[in-house]
Every structure is written in structure tokens, then in C-alpha cells.
């Protein structure tokens, strides 16, 4: 009975759907992409998620394009010239640029957009971070935009790269925060065709794009809540590309001849960190609710150094990432390209050496319980370790650390915390010993370097409470050093200092893993050090396999 019923149900569905799937040779070239998320908002100002920026990159143009190697190229402007003191920038906008609705894109639109971002404090990033140095923006009759800064900055490109140019004729009457922007008129190589929240985004090619008209006709981003489903979908050909997959699936997918798996540095890397609460009680931000209950031993570099030597990063990479990562040094990941100091050498995994360091520093196991005590015998080297309960990798890291560090007489008390509670004990409360968490990154290193500064302590951006006047001075210097090479030297030096001081243990820089059907589309950019197949660079180049 049941069988029969199911059969009827099936048959019904089959008949109805069969009518829809008959495709002929002349059907448009549609790229189906499966991904783990989906945009929550199409208003660039209100956007928070990385997937939203992926869509914006395709639909909008901005002043600069970020290349896969971390460099920038001018996009909608013919030229960019800075005044001698570096505070006034003049951009000459290209002629003949069109929005998707046929209106012209001119300097007026650019100036309007920049002013909109500057004057809307509710925009979490575009206002709060990227327009910090904007003083005034004006359009001249010459189709030029004049941007005046409050001070000269070394990284104008990375400040402008995410400031997407919006059509003035649509946005000038809209509420900057409430506007849902579901028609999403932009000027980029793709235009929005259909958006169903939490289901999919369908983009149609803008064949008239001034620089990079796509070769395919449509791109569909479909949301999958379940990572295993993504892998199944590419195996069965329900999608042509997936933007992420579990590391465990890599081997299995590689054996599928129609699927190509690619790995590389992620486009916007997010470093994971093992955080030591090392705040000096004198720096404790009491007014901001600071409790500063960290274990005193973690303020001793020797202890942190010993822990670094006792950490087998390769094993963590193997077990947690299934080998898809490289050992990390500081918060600046290799994915930041030129800003990453590749001359650093890691603390080698050497339990004997770690034990020696602790012995020499006077941390001995006086009561013979297998856990060392402080030199004055007051407390055992037993640390609380907490992490964000949403992450399924962190508990594995904690488990591994517990086993590794037990080898040098250090005990851990693991406890997962919900992100809220973790924020509450983290910073500026400093009510923890060790945490595992991660950061979001920006193409420019400045944001992540800020985390180590003394200034960041009361604002809750500093999770370690690390305070080093030399470092603070270097941070301020790199903010105003306009010469690229000089600034790079400072940034590298800052990485060296923090690595030397073992402020964090960075277990790994994870690699991005993506996969595509090689029997559907060809031309994906896979030879760069960074991998991002959902990026505009690939999507405008690919074409159907004949």
C-alpha cells in the first residue's frame, strides 16, 4: 500500500517536472554554483557577510579591482592622481559607462555614493572603517571625482575597493538603511535577474560591460545548508561548481573524473588563533568591565614559548583540516600576499625543549601529580580553554592541545561557549585563560595589526591584552607611511615582534577548497596562489565545454 502510494506521488512529480527539464542545444549557458550561504541583504551599506560581497563584486563596479595576487588595478577611472601631500585624490572617470538600466554612470554617481557611505553611520563597514579618512567628495564637470582625505593614507586602493558605485538616480530618494535594493541596479559584468532569499541568486550576464563582458549567459548561486549536500550536488551534476567543501571530501571527489578539485590560499583569509590572556593587571580596562582573571603564568613569555614548542601544528592541520593548511605565525595570513612576512621561522615541535624551558623558568611539578606548578608553588599550570561552540573544528583543536600539552605538564579544562558568552568573557572583560577563535581579514593588514595594540584593549578588539610600546609606535608609523616598500618593512617587523613574543599561537592558515565540473565549463582561473572561483575574474572568463 505504502509502496504504491509513494509510487503515485513520485509519478506525479516526475510527470510535472519532466516537462521542465527538456533542454535543447540552443539553451543559454547557465553556470550553477552551490554555496554554503546566501546574501541576507542586497544593500551594500548594510552587508556583513562575505557571500554578499561576492554578489556585489559581480553586480557592481568600484574604483579598483582586487586581483587574485593581492594587487589592485584601476577599474572605472582612467587615471588616479594624488596631490603632493597625499590628501587630495582626483579620479578621472571613464566615458560611456552605463548602469544596467541604461542610465550613464558618471562622476556624479561616484561622488554621491562616497558621500552616502561617509554620511550613514549605520553602515557597519563602509562607514565605520572604509570612509574613516574621508573629508569631502565632489564631482567636477569634467567627469572627475575629487576625494579629500583628513590625512594621507598608504592604502587608498584597499579603502576604495569595496565602495561599490551606486546609481544616484535610484539611491538619492531611498532610505540608506531601509532600502532593500531588490532590483539591484549596478554597472558590473552581471545584473541581478532574480533573488529569492535563502534559496538562490540568479544573475544574468551584462554583455555590454565596458571591461569584462562575461561569456556565459547566466550564473545561479544556490544556497545549501548542508555541506554534505553540496558535495553530493556536484557529484551528481546538480551544480557546476561548489565554493566550499569539507576537507574530508577532497579525496573522494578527486576520484570523480568529471570533477576538478582545487585548493589554494583563500581570497579573504580568516586566521584562526589560540589566544593567551596576557593582560597586565595595570592595563586592565576596569571601566569597560575588565575583570582580568587570567592565569598569571600566561603573562610569562617562557610559558607561551614552551606551549608553542609543545604544539604539533602539523598534526592539528592533519586532523582538523585533513592536511589542507600550512602552519601559521601571526594574525597576518599568507593569504594577504605581499604583507605576509615569509621570512619568519616557526618554533619547532620539540617536547623536550618545551619541558626544558619550563624547568629552567622554575615551573616544576612539585606535588608529583603530573601538572607543573608556578615557581612560587601558588597555582598549578592548569588553564581554562574556551571556544565558540558553533565551530566544529575548535573542539578538535582543544582536544589535541590537551593531549599535546599534557606531555609538558600543562593541564587544560576545556569548555565550549556560545559566541555571546564567549564575547562576554573575552574582551574587554579578560575573564579567561586561553581561547580558540578566529578573525575576519581585510586586504590591508592594518585592521589585523590593530588587534595587537595597547589602544585596542579597552575597545575589546584586543583579545590578549598584549601591550608593547615599540609595537604601538610601529603601528602608528605604518598608518602614515606612504611608500609601499617602507610600509611593508614596518609591517613585516611588526609580525616579527609579535611572533617573537608568542602573543598567539596560530595553529594554521587554512586553504580554500573548491571544486568544479570540468565537463560543463572551462576557463576557471586555477593557476594563481589564491583560489576563488566565485570571483568575477573566473566568472567572466569561463565558457561552456563544447
Amino acid at each position: 500500500m505504502k509502496q504504491k502510494f509513494l509510487f503515485v506521488f513520485l509519478l506525479f512529480a516526475l510527470v510535472l517536472s519532466a516537462c521542465g527539464t527538456g533542454q535543447s542545444a540552443s539553451t543559454p549557458a547557465v553556470v550553477r554554483i552551490g554555496w554554503g550561504g546566501g546574501p541576507d541583504t542586497l544593500n551594500p551599506g548594510m552587508a556583513i557577510l562575505a557571500v554578499e560581497y561576492t554578489i556585489f563584486e559581480l553586480v557592481y563596479d568600484s574604483m579598483y579591482d582586487l586581483n587574485l595576487d593581492g594587487s589592485f588595478t584601476l577599474s572605472i577611472a582612467e587615471s588616479a592622481t594624488a596631490s603632493d601631500d597625499g590628501t587630495v585624490w582626483t579620479f578621472k572617470i571613464k566615458e560611456g559607462l552605463k548602469f544596467h538600466d541604461g542610465e550613464d554612470l558618471t562622476a556624479e554617481d561616484v561622488a554621491f555614493t562616497y558621500n552616502l557611505y561617509k554620511d550613514t553611520p549605520e553602515y557597519p563597514y563602509l562607514n565605520g572603517y572604509y570612509t574613516t579618512y574621508f573629508d569631502s567628495i565632489e564631482a567636477t564637470g569634467n567627469n572627475e571625482v575629487v576625494l579629500t582625505l583628513t590625512e594621507a593614507i598608504p592604502n587608498i586602493e584597499s579603502q576604495l575597493v569595496y565602495l561599490y558605485i551606486l546609481p544616484k538616480h535610484i539611491w538619492e530618494t531611498a532610505s540608506p538603511t531601509e532600502f532593500d535594493n531588490v532590483t539591484m541596479i549596478g554597472s558590473g559584468p552581471f545584473k541581478l535577474a532574480e533573488y529569492v532569499p535563502d534559496e538562490f541568486v540568479r544573475l544574468a550576464a551584462n554583455k555590454e560591460h565596458f571591461a569584462t563582458p562575461p561569456k556565459v549567459d547566466e550564473v545561479i548561486f544556490q544556497t545549501f545548508d548542508n555541506p554534505d549536500a553540496l558535495v553530493q550536488a556536484i557529484k551528481t551534476g546538480q551544480v557546476d561548481m561548489i565554493s566550499s567543501l569539507p576537507g574530508t571530501a577532497v579525496e573522494g571527489l578527486k576520484s570523480e573524473s568529471a570533477v576538478t578539485v582545487v585548493t589554494g590560499a583563500p581570497f579573504s583569509p580568516g586566521p584562526e588563533d589560540i589566544i593567551f590572556n596576557q593582560i597586565d593587571p595595570e592595563n586592565c580596562p576596569v571601566d569597560e568591565g575588565g575583570l582580568c582573571t587570567g592565569h598569571p603564568a600566561l603573562r610569562d613569555r617562557n610559558v607561551r614559548l614552551a606551549l608553542a614548542h609543545a604544539t604539533d601544528k602539523q598534526k592539528i592541520i592533519d586532523v582538523v583540516l585533513f592536511g589542507l593548511g600550512t602552519p601559521g605565525f601571526t594574525l597576518i595570513p599568507d593569504g594577504l600576499g605581499v604583507w605576509f612576512n615569509n621570512t619568519l621561522t616557526d618554533y619547532e615541535f620539540d617536547t623536550a625543549k618545551a619541558n626544558q624551558i619550563l624547568d629552567d623558568a622554575g615551573y616544576l611539578d612539585t606535588d608529583g601529580d603530573g601538572v607543573r606548578e608556578m615557581p612560587d608553588g601558588s597555582r598549578a599550570l592548569s588553564f581554562r580553554i574556551n571556544w565558540d561552540s558553533d565551530n566544529s573544528d575548535y573542539p578538535r583543536i582543544a582536544e589535541l592541545l590537551k593531549e599535546m600539552w599534557a606531555e609538558i605538564g600543562v593541564a587544560l579544562e576545556p569548555q565550549a561557549f556560545d559566541a555571546d558568552a564567549l564575547t562576554a568573557i573575552c574582551c574587554p572583560t579578560f575573564d579567561f585563560d586561553i581561547m580558540i577563535w578566529g578573525w575576519v581579514s581585510d586586504p590591508d593588514p592594518s585592521a589585523l595589526l590593530y588587534v595587537y595594540t595597547t589602544d585596542a584593549i579597552p575597545y575589546g578588539s584586543s583579545e590578549t591584552g598584549y601591550s608593547n610600546p615599540v609595537y604601538d609606535e610601529l603601528y602608528n608609523q605604518q598608518q602614515v607611511t606612504l611608500n609601499f616598500e617602507e610600509r611593508k618593512e614596518i609591517v613585516w617587523e611588526m609580525q616579527r615582534i609579535t611572533h617573537e613574543d608568542v602573543v598567539y599561537i596560530i595553529p594554521y592558515y587554512a586553504q580554500a577548497v573548491q571544486a568544479f565540473r570540468n565537463d560543463r565549463f572551462t576557463g576557471w582561473i586555477i593557476d594563481q596562489s589564491k583560489i576563488e572561483l566565485t570571483d568575477v575574474t573566473s566568472l567572466v572568463l569561463i565558457e561552456p565545454v563544447r
Binding site: K2, F5, F9, L10, F12, A13, L16, S17, C19, G20, V30, R32, D40, T41, M46, L49, E122, P124, Y125, N127, G128, Y129, T132, T177, E194, V196, P197, D198, E199, R202, E218, I220, Q222, T223, F224, D225, N226, D228, A229, Q232, A233, K235, T236, Q238, A419, D420, A421, T423, A424, W437, G438, W439, V440, A447, L448, V451, A456, Y459, G460, S461
Partner: protein, 342 residues
């Protein structure tokens, strides 16, 4: 007279329960620690000013309620506040306007986000419930009819097994079985179908519904089968069935005219009570099959600590369940003439 009083009574009770849930819902989210404006977002680019702007935007700068300190519930907070300016009364006021606040994540009104998803969930739960009730009744009736035969033991055994399956686990197992057999495993429709004729779109949705509905049906039909069977066996051993049999009424007609309606009564109660579990099932099934419904909204809101969405979804779910319960109660009143006297 009695019946209308019973209906009135039950309705009043449902309204009271809804009010209770509304208040519970508010304080549940306020008592517990954590700063929602920062939760889930750990980004050095967010400056203090941006955080404060977010707090103003979400109304978190206002006091929770007189004398109540949300960060430290034991401490007495500021009592010197205009009650109408407190979050509690703003929340109540907004609720009556149908305003559930703004999502931390999407910046869209929660009511708008959830109403889209509510229909998807109703579609899924509706199909799943109807199928599982029908199949549960069919197997329950078969089991009772052929009590203590192989048919009965088989259907009872399978029902018990179905009852014991963790929903999400079954979902994953079926996802893999389905994907290997060419069923769609994610979403409600094939993207880009909107240009096709309407009946093809519906067919496409139906096709996408197959695996989630199958999971749903299996999970719930076990219990319905067991309830239907035992309830029908009870009814069939009543004296009035013997009367009907003595009257020469055929077995089939006895079943149809005398037993089913009476045996449905416990099933109706169980279906009503199950609505709460139904939601639990939906949360799991929707997140396994990426079904854009209320359940996956809850799942995502939990992951991202999007409290306004979680809060709104909870209210919506609770109110729907309470109303559905009321409906079941009223159905019961209709099915059982004795109720009006009691």
C-alpha cells in the same frame, strides 16, 4: 449553550497562553548575558561608534523595563524610567502592530522574513502531516483489523522502528539515498524556473518536496499508526460494535460508520500535541534539505545569534501551535457530542 461556552472557554485560555508566551519570550532573551550587537561579529574593523549605532538601531540602548538590569539580573536596575520608553513596552506595542523587530543579520523586518518562510513550512508540514496521518491511519486500521496477525506485527514493528529514528539522522540517510537516485536534495525549487509555466513550477516544487516530505512522513507515521491501532482496537472491543455486528452490519461498514470516528478522537489529540514536535521535526528536516522555511530560519538564527529572528520565530511557532491546538480542541468538540455536556 454549553458548546459555545466550552468554545469560549478554550479560546480565552488560548489567548492567555499566548500572552504568557509573549512575556516569557521577552524576558528569556533579556535575562541572559551577552551583547547582541557584537555577538557573532568579531571583526576589528567594527569601531565602538559602529557598535553603538547598531545598538540604537536595534533599540538596545533603551532600558529593558523599570528596575531591571539586563546585564545583571540580580542587580536592581534603573527604576526612574518612563515605562513606555522601556524595551518591554516598545516590544509589546510593536508586537500588536505586527512588528517583530529587525534582524541583526539581514536588516530586514523579521515579520517580513518569517512570513515568506512560514508558508514554505506550512507547505512542508502540511504535506508531511497529511501523508503521515493518512498512512498512519491506513496502517493503524490494517493493524487493528488484522490484530495479532503477521500484518499487525509487521506494521507495529515498523512503526516502533520509525518512532525511534532521530529525525535529522533519517534525513541525512535519505539525502544520500535520494541524491544517488537523482532526487533534488536542496531548496524548494530549481533556480531560474520562474519563466516556466505555472504548472511546471508547481511540479518542480513538488519534486523538490519529495525527500523532505518522505522524511517527515516516516518520522510521524509510526506514532500515528500505533495510536490509531490501539485506539481502534479499543473502540472495536466496545459493546456497541457487537451491537452493530449483531445488527448484521458488514465489517467494513462497522469500521466506517461506527469505529473510525470514535477512534479518531485520541488521534486528534495526539496530532494536536504533536504540533510542537512537528516544529522540532521541521527545524531538523529543513536544515538537512536546505528547505527555506521557518525551521531553517531558527537553525540559522541559532548559528548566527540573530535574536530578533529567533524571538520572532519562537513567538510565531508558539502562537501557531497554540492556535492549532485550539483548532484540534474545537474539532474534538465537533467529533465528540459528549463534550458539550462535560
Amino acid at each position: 449553550m454549553n458548546r459555545s461556552r466550552a468554545i469560549l472557554n478554550k479560546t480565552a485560555w488560548a489567548v492567555f497562553t499566548i500572552l504568557f508566551v509573549i512575556v516569557l519570550n521577552f524576558f528569556l532573551f533579556r535575562i541572559l548575558p551577552g551583547d547582541p550587537a557584537r555577538a557573532g561579529m568579531k571583526d576589528p574593523r567594527l569601531k565602538q561608534e559602529a557598535i553603538e549605532a547598531l545598538q540604537v538601531r536595534f533599540g538596545l540602548d533603551k532600558p529593558v523595563i523599570n528596575c531591571f538590569d539586563s546585564l545583571n539580573p540580580i542587580k536592581i536596575g534603573n527604576c526612574n524610567v518612563n515605562p513606555l520608553e522601556t524595551q518591554f513596552f516598545i516590544y509589546i506595542g510593536n508586537l500588536f502592530k505586527g512588528d517583530l523587530g529587525i534582524s541583526y543579520d539581514t536588516n530586514r523586518p523579521v515579520s517580513e522574513m518569517l512570513s515568506e518562510r512560514l508558508w514554505n513550512t506550512i507547505l512542508l508540514i502540511g504535506a508531511g502531516q497529511i501523508l503521515s496521518i493518512i498512512l498512519g491511519m491506513v496502517f493503524g486500521i490494517l493493524g487493528a483489523w488484522k490484530a495479532r496477525t503477521l500484518v499487525d506485527y509487521g506494521s507495529t514493528g515498523i512503526s516502533l522502528l520509525f518512532w525511534s529514528l532521530p529525525t535529522f539522522w533519517l534525513g541525512i540517510v535519505l539525502l544520500f539515498w535520494g541524491s544517488a537516485n537523482g532526487f533534488p536534495i536542496a531548496g524548494k525549487a530549481t533556480p531560474g524556473m520562474s519563466s516556466y509555466p505555472l504548472f511546471q513550477q508547481w511540479g518542480d516544487v513538488l519534486w523538490h518536496m519529495f525527500l523532505p516530505t518522505l522524511t517527515y512522513t516516516i518520522i510521524f507515521m509510526g506514532e500515528y499508526t500505533l495510536i490509531m491501532r490501539s485506539s481502534l482496537v479499543d473502540v472495536l472491543s466496545e459493546d456497541y460494535i457487537l451491537t452493530a455486528k449483531a445488527k448484521g452490519v458488514s465489517a467494513f461498514q462497522i469500521l466506517k460508520d461506527h469505529a473510525l470516528r470514535n477512534a479518531m478522537l485520541p488521534l486528534v489529540t495526539v496530532i494536536a500535541i504533536n504540533l510542537g514536535f512537528t516544529v522540532a521535526g521541521a527545524i531538523q528536516i529543513e536544515s538537512v534539505f536546505s528547505w527555506p522555511g521557518l525551521g531553517s530560519a531558527v537553525f540559522e538564527a541559532v548559528e548566527r545569534r540573530d535574536y530578533p529572528v529567533l524571538q520572532g520565530a519562537f513567538i510565531l511557532i508558539a502562537v501557531s501551535v497554540i492556535l492549532a491546538n485550539l483548532l484540534a480542541d474545537l474539532t474534538y468538540t465537533y467529533l465528540d457530542p459528549r463534550v458539550q455536556v462535560e
